[in-house]
């Protein structure tokens, strides 16, 4: 795993952002400790994708501060960050191995032998080695998602932003993806994963419930469930509870 800072992997303080007059994020604050999987949970339009795009430096904040690995998002730390956008975002004409190899070179894995080993390792990790020479056009939706994940992790980044990585996957593949994510956190990586399904939420170490550009609750899945006061509350119940009772940035820990 490449260099990383010893503090929180991500610190966001009073972050606001708007597309024109449409406010998308409203004084949002959160902190993501290193080495865990952190879920951004919320309905469509909650601001999850915008937040991730701000965190990887694709958008600039109007107000507030962002620190990723202790520094402001910029091309200087881009090699420490992995990003998997919502779309598979692959070159359709190229094969799986050509796509992964391309991103390996873009992320400056210069040693040819090491690069080849790393490319093979990540393609094997996502179970696509048998299909490595297939054009992306000929892959199923799930295979494209797996290839996209391979491109995002090929440079072994300590911090990964995954924007709805499990959307459109069948339940079996979703479980497989969470196995990949667990393997990455065990290796010390920090994962920030956006989702709108509570199935995904249960797999995360910590969660931020988001709604209308704000964090309405922060905590582990158990803490969030317990905060409802109901013994058998689900995360869905917890989310509804915080919509009804929760204030802005309510940390239940």
């Amino acid at each position: 795993m490449p260099e990383s800072s010893s503090g929180p992997a991500v610190e966001v303080n009073k972050l606001s952002f708007a597309y024109g007059r449409q406010k998308v994020l409203d004084e949002l604050s959160l902190e993501v400790p290193g080495g865990i999987s952190f879920g951004l949970l919320g309905p469509n339009g909650a601001g999850k994708t915008t937040l991730i795009r701000l965190l990887v430096g694709l958008l600039r904040a109007r107000a507030g501060t962002i620190l990723t690995l202790g520094r402001k998002p910029s091309p200087k730390i881009a090699h420490l960050i992995g990003y998997m956008p919502q779309l598979p975002s692959l070159y359709a004409e190229l094969s799986v191995i050509q796509n992964v190899e391309f991103f390996a070179r873009i992320y400056r894995l210069r040693d040819r032998k090491q690069r080849a080993q790393r490319v093979e390792a990540v393609i094997r990790l996502v179970d696509l080695w048998e299909h490595r020479n297939k054009s992306v056009t000929n892959l199923s939706g799930g295979m494209k998602q797996r290839a996209s994940l391979a491109c995002a992790i090929v440079h072994n980044p300590p911090l990964l932003f995954l924007d709805e990585p499990t959307v459109g996957l069948d339940p079996e593949l979703r479980v497989t993806f969470w196995k990949y994510f667990s393997a990455l956190t065990r290796q010390g990586a920090t994962l920030v994963i956006s989702s709108h399904t509570m199935d995904d939420a249960a797999h995360c170490d910590r969660l931020a419930f988001m709604r209308d550009g704000r964090v309405i609750a922060l905590g582990s899945p158990d803490e969030l469930r317990q905060a409802t006061g109901q013994e058998e509350a689900t995360l869905e119940d917890a989310f509804l509870y915080f919509i009804k009772h929760g204030g802005v940035n309510k940390n239940v820990q």
């Binding site: 795009r53 990887v56 430096g57 694709l58 958008l59 091309p75 881009a78 090699h79 960050i81 990003y83 956008p85 919502q86 779309l87 598979p88 975002s89 692959l90 070159y91 359709a92 004409e93 190229l94 050509q98 391309f102 991103f103 070179r105 873009i106 992320y107 400056r108 210069r110 054009s135 491109c151």
Partner: protein
């Protein structure tokens, strides 16, 4: 030139090589158009006058179209966003596109040039290498123009609309069909601010009058200035494009 520029250029070349139908179209379509012009002109001297302009205009047209659509696809399929989140700079991305597509522009020029000379028997007097260098310069301008306008377009449909808006007026006003000096004064003024006018003027001077690149320094300078200006504009406006 950074290594990322070369990595992006080699990826573009790989992509096009794997898309055989596009490669065939790149090679064949200009020849079909040149043949149509070649067999339809009533007088051989008209073909000698028109052929250099066809060479320049077709490189502009295909360079613009290919690069524009490819760059737009890079945005619409999300790969540009992925690149923008990586350590590569915007200039690396535009530079990579420039290099990658330039190779195809040079190949297209050579195929078309030899077809005009050896199949359609067009006369020329200049040095082949100087003609190629000048064509490469037009190709660079076309690639820069394609990437710049693709940043402004939101989808392929809008990009195609830029052809009648940006390319067709240049084809009519550049002197392809009749000399710029015979146009109304206000059209001459318009023609003189369009890069293709200098492309056609330069390539005619090289092929028909046997002049060299130094003799057509003004044309070379204007085309180079356009290319650099568009390159910078593309790099500056690209963040918006990725968004």
């Amino acid at each position: 030139m950074s290594s990322s520029t070369l990595v992006i250029a080699s990826r573009i070349i790989n992509q096009l090589i794997r898309d055989r139908r596009t490669i065939i179209l790149i090679a064949v379509v200009p020849l079909v158009i040149a043949s149509l012009v070649g067999v339809s002109v009533p007088d051989k001297s008209i073909l000698d006058y028109t052929a250099p302009a066809i060479l320049a205009v077709l490189i502009l047209f295909f360079g613009f179209l290919l690069t524009g659509i490819s760059f737009l696809r890079e945005r619409s399929q999300g790969t540009l966003e992925r690149l923008m989140a990586s350590p590569v700079s915007r200039l690396d991305i535009v530079g990579g596109y420039l290099l990658g597509f330039l190779l195809f522009a040079v190949l297209q020029t050579m195929v078309l040039f030899f077809y005009l000379i050896y199949v359609l028997n067009v006369n020329y007097y200049g040095d082949l290498w100087q003609i190629l260098v000048f064509q490469v310069l037009i190709g660079i301008g076309a690639v820069c123009m394609g990437t710049f306008f693709s940043v402004l377009a939101k989808n392929e449909f809008q990009m195609v609309q830029f052809i009648p808006m940006i390319i067709v007026p240049q084809m009519f006003l550049c002197g392809l069909l009749w000399p710029v000096s015979q146009m109304p004064e206000y059209l001459q003024w318009l023609a003189n601010v369009l890069p293709m006018t200098y492309g056609v003027e330069g390539i005619r001077a090289l092929m028909m009058q046997g002049q060299n690149l130094l003799d057509i320094g003004k044309d070379v300078g204007v085309l180079a200035a356009y290319a650099v200006g568009l390159l910078i504009l593309t790099a500056v406006t690209m963040r918006r494009g990725a968004g």
